[in-house]
């Protein structure tokens, strides 16, 4: 069973085509990265999944069928525009939001106690929300997204305002949810987090699907035939089949000639008596792929 099945949806606001024939699916037990430049149509897509907007055309299935009021109880959403009720104590705010997700008040309180302790917010539970720091409010918001143990979690920039310790904790929590079989859609511009967490990604631009697949597949698709090596002894001046050798922080970056094969280079290095601790095909960072793809899209649009 897929958790979300989006088939050929489009949405137009006035003269802007926000989403343009977009299709994708999200499975249980995966963290799905929804990426794209600002204004690409990510938030509109999320809002259509959540039935805040209706698509002009196309079909969306959430948790095995069209969206219903009951299904809202099984979804946790951390929107881009986030906020909490400011004038009431933290615990009361979180209990109220949890009961709106169908939880009983006493269960909500018990669950929240665990979460608040885990996020170091327990001692602040009687403080008014507006008295908490930005980072604390962000943690509270994450608690509110997860406390009702949703089947589907949709989070927009979950790591904003978090320090490295809390970032690590949130990552662990998201991985734990994935291992429990929950589906998580994460929208973020922090590509390093996507590389660390996401199993599959969808990159959209101008409302259209640009990249879609597992992280591995996409990175392989963009992999150049370049090699990274870390030698223990000195590297030869030139190697057959290598057009350029660059030294980077104790590692060497070898740019291959057209015809050369990585296996052949490995053989040449060993024959030349180089002792290697690392030999890998250079995979471009997601950040570069993102920039490359988006720039290419821009160029196409302008032509």
């Amino acid at each position: 069973m897929t958790i979300i099945n989006v088939t050929d949806i489009s949405k137009r606001f006035g003269n802007t085509q926000a989403v343009d024939h977009l299709s994708f699916e999200v499975n249980p037990g995966e963290i799905f990265g929804l990426l794209g430049p600002n204004g690409a149509g990510k938030t509109t897509s999320i809002r259509m999944i959540l039935n805040i907007f209706q698509p002009d055309s196309g079909k969306i299935s959430v948790l095995d069928g069209p969206m219903t009021e009951e299904k809202k109880n099984h979804i946790g959403y951390l929107p881009e525009e986030r906020g909490l009720y400011q004038d009431i104590p933290l615990e009361r705010c979180l209990v109220f939001l949890a009961t709106l997700k169908g939880m009983e008040e006493h269960t909500a309180k018990a669950e929240l106690e665990d979460y608040l302790k885990r996020f170091d917010l327990y001692e602040f539970r009687d403080k008014k929300v507006k008295e908490l720091s930005k980072g604390m409010q962000q943690k509270a918001q994450l608690i509110s997204t997860l406390v009702h143990d949703p089947q589907l979690v949709i989070i927009d920039e979950p790591f904003t305002s978090l320090d490295p310790v809390n970032t690590e904790m949130v990552k662990d929590l998201l991985e734990q949810k994935r291992d429990e079989g929950k589906a998580i859609i994460m929208s973020t511009h922090q590509m390093n987090q996507v590389e660390e967490l996401c199993d599959r990604i969808l990159l959209i631009d101008h409302g259209q699907r640009v990249l879609y697949g597992t992280l591995q597949e996409i990175q392989n698709k963009f992999a150049s035939r370049d090699i990274l090596v870390t030698p223990l002894n000195t590297m030869p001046e030139s190697i057959k089949g290598v057009r350029e050798i660059k030294k980077l922080n104790g590692r060497y970056f070898l740019a291959l000639e057209e015809e050369a094969e990585p296996n052949q280079i490995l053989k040449s290095l060993i024959n030349a008596g180089v002792e290697l601790t690392e030999f890998e095909i250079a995979v471009p960072p997601l950040n570069e792929i993102f920039i490359q793809v988006v720039k290419k899209q821009e160029a196409v649009k302008h032509d």
């Binding site: 809002r47 959540l50 805040i52 907007f53 209706q54 009021e69 809202k72 109880n73 979804i75 959403y77 929107p79 525009e81 986030r82 906020g83 909490l84 009720y85 400011q86 004038d87 009431i88 109220f96 939001l97 009961t99 709106l100 997700k101 169908g102 509110s144």
Partner: protein, 404 residues
């Protein structure tokens, strides 16, 4: 349903159990109490209990008998001292031994006039005590039937009746006229309280950005219904509390002013009050919610709310004209305009007989306005809920571009 209930509970408790609410709840009765208390104390200290003298050269009050009266702290029985000598009475008045003296001329039975001499005019209660004293003693000689005598002492009590018999009003129940006006003021205060809270609740969710989380937990209709009922309940709590205070006030006040004891409200009066006020209440609450949904900042929304309250208050500015000429074109016109209708209808109702068919039309119209306001606010809300920076225009609300 349970989610609506949770929203109602949240909206209700976050206002009612606040110090601010208790303060505003108690401020009105405390204010009234302080005002009444000050008036009481002022009245009490201004009562002059010194005797009043009288000159009776005609001897009409010879062997005068003074009946014991039911006195109260505000109407204590005053002693009446007979004088034979005008100079003596004048001297005692100047010395402050008496507060005034009456002169009953010998020609009193023809002229029916007395003279009252004073520096500060004695209170009305004292003058009516002397009046009773005079009546009692003058009729004593006539050996009247006690029933006739009693009737004579009671004086006149005029009851006005409408031609069709639907309404009547006793002279001593004049304050019943005030009921619709007081009800109108209470309505105004309560609707402005509830409406203000409602406005705040809707705008706040946009201001603090909780809207998107909330509408992915409940439907917009559930949210709106919960908010409207919750905040109306806050206003009604205030109203009920005030009515209880008023009832206590009547009971306590009845101890001092017997006229308050036989205070009663005719059933048709109450029925019309409720039938006019309930749809008006819903109508204005829904309009407030609509304002909240279209505005992006609380301050801005409160300015628009101010315009509404000014309009609702218009009949009060024109109250003398409306009550003197309750069937004038102005009065009738204002009772057809949704915002001025509630107060105008109540005012006219207190000073004229509005035909039943007209009342029915007014009530039906108000119900229709209420329904339209709910429709309008639902639409404004669905369109405006995720607008964070931009106001919603009327054209957009009535246009086709609404989100399904």
């Amino acid at each position: 349903m349970t989610k609506i209930w949770k929203i109602i509970k949240y909206e209700y408790t976050r206002h009612v159990f606040q110090k601010r609410f208790l303060f505003s709840l108690l401020s009105l009765p405390v204010f009234v109490l302080v005002m009444v208390g000050v008036a009481f104390i002022a009245a009490f200290f201004s009562i002059d209990t010194s005797p009043v003298g009288y000159m009776d050269p005609g001897g009409m009050l010879e062997n005068a008998v003074r009946e014991e009266m039911d006195d109260s702290i505000f109407d204590p029985q005053i002693e009446f001292l007979p004088y034979q000598d005008l100079a003596q009475a004048e001297a005692d008045l100047q010395a402050g031994d008496i507060q005034a003296y009456y002169i009953l001329p010998e020609s009193y039975e023809q002229a029916l006039q007395v003279e009252l001499v004073f520096y500060d005019e004695p209170a009305g209660e004292i003058q009516s005590q002397f009046n009773d004293f005079l009546t009692d003693n003058l009729t004593l000689h006539d050996n009247l039937d006690p029933q006739i005598e009693a009737r004579l002492e009671d004086g006149s009590l005029i009851t006005m009746k409408a031609v069709d018999g639907s309404r009547e009003m006793r002279q001593d129940q004049w304050f019943v006229v005030l009921i619709p006006i007081i009800a109108g003021i209470m309505f105004f205060v309560v609707i402005m309280t509830s409406g203000g809270y409602l406005l705040q609740a809707v705008v706040e969710e946009k201001e603090n950005r909780t809207m998107e989380i909330v509408i992915t937990s409940v439907s917009p209709n559930q949210l709106m219904t919960g908010k409207i009922i919750g905040n109306i309940a806050v206003g009604l709590t205030q109203l009920v509390a005030w009515l209880i205070f008023a009832w206590i006030g009547l009971k306590v006040g009845g101890q001092f002013w017997p006229v308050l004891q036989d205070f009663s409200l005719p059933a048709n009066y109450v029925a019309v009050l409720l039938l006019v006020l309930l749809p008006s209440f819903v109508m204005i609450a829904a309009l407030m919610a609509a304002i909240g949904a279209t505005m992006t900042e609380l301050r801005e929304a409160q300015q628009v709310q101010g315009l509404f309250s000014l309009t609702i208050m218009v009949p009060y500015y024109l109250s003398s004209s409306l009550m003197m000429n309750p069937n004038s074109p102005l009065a009738i016109g204002l009772s057809y305009f949704p915002l001025t209708a509630p107060v105008t209808i109540l005012m006219r109702f207190s000073s004229t007989v509005i035909p039943v068919w007209q009342i029915a039309i007014h009530i039906l119209l108000l119900i229709a306005f209420a329904a339209a306001a709910i429709w309008f606010s639902g639409r404004a809300f669905r369109m405006g809920m995720l607008r964070y920076g931009k106001k919603l225009s009327l054209k957009e609300i009535f246009g086709k571009g609404v989100e399904k």
